[in-house]
Amino acid sequence: MKISENLSRREFMTRILDFAKKALIALPFVSGFGAVKAFTGGAFLKTAEAKELVAYDPSQHLYAMGVYIDRCIGCGMCARACKKENNVPQEPFYFRTWVERYQILKEDKTIVDSPNGGIDGFPETTNKADVLRSFFVPKLCNQCKNPPCVQVCPVGATYKTKDGVILIDDKYCIGCRYCIQACPYGARYLNPVTKTADKCTFCYHRVVKGMKPACVEVCPTQARVFGDLKSESSPMVRLERMNKIRVLKPDLNTEPKVYYVDLDGEVS
């Protein structure tokens, strides 16, 4: 539509109307094109794995993780493996999972630290004689049943799947950091490469194929347990039945799906 300077108002309106008419006629075609695109877009997988995944029904699963605090030796293998599996930047500020050391002192004080997420070990920082008790707490995204991060996302880039995992659509995320602020567990970070929010996905690409998340795979003392709460034979069902469990910050009503066995009351 060419607009010249000596265009009369009548002619201008006529042309606008003409364009709108054409656009209205074109609309069904455009939406039809969209539908076709959506249909072909559904065939996102071209590998042999595709067939397995088509058979995968998310509504038949509900994933959860358990952590035996008494078994964790603070070796940091989980944090290392997570970074390798999920291409998390190696700098010590970005973690999908990390290990915290709790040192509860005799003088009514608690020291919590996590140097490089526990990847390089935990050097002694306090006099052993001052410590009442000490232990390690592996942390990660709690995959809440009521996730505050999903609620605050302004564009729908983070979402809950039917099998209970909270995922991030890194192509759709605008990097506004609302979700990072909203997470009460500090589980999210802004990926400096993609400039989008990132966090633990329970290794969704692995668990849908029946594998364990990378951190559970490499945990040398089986402090981490992973399973499907909808399957009777799952190690998670056993963990829930046989132990006294606690979740982090239960008062927030987020209903986490990371269950801690023998968690100290000092941990939040």
């Binding site: 969209g34 995944l53 293998m77 493996a81 759709y172 690409h205 040398p220």
Partner: protein, 250 residues
């Protein structure tokens, strides 16, 4: 037929244009699969599922290296997956000859789990790296696929160093560990299968500390009938450092 008033038509026209424009813009700007499964792009789910796998799992290792996997499965390292030490194996599985996974052979790697750290759970095997054969590679004495002590440790302190050092500074320094802990000889090679005993009752301590005990004169004595009769001794006295416990000996 009566026409709409002119002013209404003039209003409707821009509205129709704006709405049509918004609809067209929405078709182009909102991804096709958005909203199919919820308030998100349904295609993202497939993208999340098809991310590449790096840690292939122990079963993939067992397909070729079944002897080592079998050996490890019977050892103390049965819970330690191959990829804990050898790193992610996907590249090796794709082209076994070109991509050899690393094998940590120096002294730096084993202490990641086995160096002494007071925050680690009691009973997990730990060594103090500065005093434990400094300079020697771990694998020169221990086979990582079947780790056992290379020879029977002569003293309890080789493994239970923390307790040995505590006892060193206590009045019990001259009491050998085996007085209180009956230790089968197999315990030294197979520590978790053959566990030493621990004293079971008050009378055990009373063998030295009761009023009528047949023991050296300088050993402190108590009246077993009146001294904390409802408790066992180690609820107040830590046997490896009996004197200094806070709650005891008021």
């Amino acid at each position: 037929m009566k026409r709409f008033p002119n002013q209404i038509i003039r209003l409707i026209i821009p509205f129709v244009i704006i709405i049509a424009g918004l609809l067209i813009a929405k078709k182009f700007l909102v991804p096709a699969s958005f909203g199919k499964l919820g308030h998100f792009r349904a295609d993202a789910l497939g993208e999340a599922m098809s991310k590449p796998i790096h840690y292939v799992g122990q079963q993939a290792c067992a397909d070729c290296h079944d002897e080592i996997v079998k050996k490890k499965a019977a050892s103390y390292h049965k819970g330690v997956a191959c990829e804990v030490c050898h790193g992610p194996g996907s590249a090796h599985v794709d082209s076994p000859t070109e991509n050899k996974p690393p094998a940590p052979r120096d002294r730096g790697f084993c202490p990641v789990c086995h160096s002494y750290n007071p925050s680690r759970p009691t009973g997990f095997p730990q060594i103090v790296t500065v005093t434990h054969n400094p300079g020697k590679a771990c694998i020169s004495c221990h086979n990582a696929h079947d780790p056992v002590p290379p020879h029977a440790p002569e003293q309890c302190g080789a493994c239970h160093g923390d307790i040995a050092r505590t006892k060193m500074a206590s009045p019990h320094v001259d009491v050998p560990c085996t007085v209180c802990h009956e230790t089968p000889t197999e315990h030294r090679m197979n520590p978790r299968m053959y566990v030493p005993t621990i004293p079971a009752n008050r009378e055990f301590c009373g063998k030295c500390h009761a009023k009528d005990a047949q023991s050296a004169k300088e050993i402190p004595r108590i009246d077993m009938g009146t001294h904390g009769e409802r408790y066992v001794c180690w609820e107040c006295h830590y046997p490896h450092l009996p004197q200094v416990y806070n709650g005891a000996a008021k």
